[in-house]
């Protein structure tokens, strides 16, 4: 990756962290309630984002829930 694309990536990530998702998102409680279904749909390529609207946006905005999504996906898909 070039220096300029690294800087652009850092800028975009900084803005994403501060501004969060632009679209409607689930709450942390709703995310946890749907996490197992969303992960299985993701693994099975079962249109997870269509089946669980607002989940991708929440995972984009909440680092803790995003970590738990990656953990569960890695664990059951491993």
């Amino acid at each position: 990756m070039s220096d300029s694309s690294k800087k652009s990536d850092g800028r975009d990530r900084l803005l994403a962290r501060v501004l969060g998702p632009a679209k409607p998102e689930l709450s942390c409680e709703e995310c946890f309630a749907e996490l197992d279904r969303y992960v299985e749909l993701s693994v099975a390529d079962g249109e997870a984002d269509r089946q669980v609207p607002g989940m991708r946006e929440h995972l984009h905005g909440c680092p803790a829930c995003a970590e738990e999504y990656r953990s569960l996906r890695e664990f059951i898909d491993g």
Partner: protein
């Protein structure tokens, strides 16, 4: 809610979903059959907790192996209690084991994040934004400078509570459950505060004609 048959998650190859359903059935019985099922569930939860702790242990070099296994045991114990308490809430929209694993992974993740921040001060000051934005926009044009200056002004216009939460979580990268514990509140309540702060920032920027990052969200 019942999923259409063609979108129902399939069991991964080699993993029998029947075993997961049988475990759930036996947890609903009484006596030795239930006790045996509870023991089997605890073994599965411990495996999940150890997985989570193993993948994060590099970030905790000061925690000894024995302490890490204690954390895994505590996580499995706490997850087991939560699952047995919420068994009626399982809706059957995933395998029972997938549903159960998320409790163990959550318990382990929360315990690890709290351990990592034990004894550390939670930074609430928003000078970090000035440093970050200066570094990020140092070699950029006037448009970026205007955007970052506007964000700084909008952050300063937030209420104290919203500014503290936004600065800690989004700028200083304090884990939200660590901050929730320090502020004596819940993760969900704190995320709502963060969400409101972000919404107000976006509204303030939009009023200035600035609409950064309104595109599709990336894959998590």
């Amino acid at each position: 809610m019942e999923l259409p048959a063609d979108t129902r998650p399939q069991a991964a190859p080699g993993r029998a979903d029947g075993a997961s359903q049988d475990l759930l059935r036996r947890l609903g019985t009484q006596g030795p059959e239930r006790e045996e099922a509870v023991g089997e569930l605890h073994v599965l939860l411990l495996k999940a907790a150890r997985f989570e702790i193993g993948r994060r242990s590099a970030g905790l070099p000061h925690v000894r192996g024995g302490d890490l296994d204690d954390l895994a045991q505590q996580s499995a114990d706490d997850a087991l209690l939560a699952i047995l308490d919420k068994l009626d809430e399982f809706r059957g929209e995933s395998r029972f084991t997938t549903w159960a694993y998320k409790f163990a992974l959550l318990e382990a993740a929360v315990k690890l994040r709290r351990r990592a921040w034990q004894g550390r001060e939670v930074p609430l000051e928003h000078e970090a934004w000035r440093r970050l934005s200066d570094a990020s926009s140092a070699e950029r044009g006037a448009e970026d400078s205007e955007l970052f200056a506007a964000i700084r002004e909008e952050i300063e216009n937030l209420s104290d509570r919203r500014r503290e939460v936004l600065v800690a979580v989004a700028i200083n990268e304090v884990p939200i459950d660590v901050l929730a514990e320090r502020m004596d509140t819940t993760r969900g309540a704190l995320y709502k505060t963060l969400h409101d702060a972000r919404r107000m920032l976006r509204a303030g920027l939009a009023a200035r004609g600035l609409r950064p990052g309104d595109g599709e969200e990336e894959k998590p």
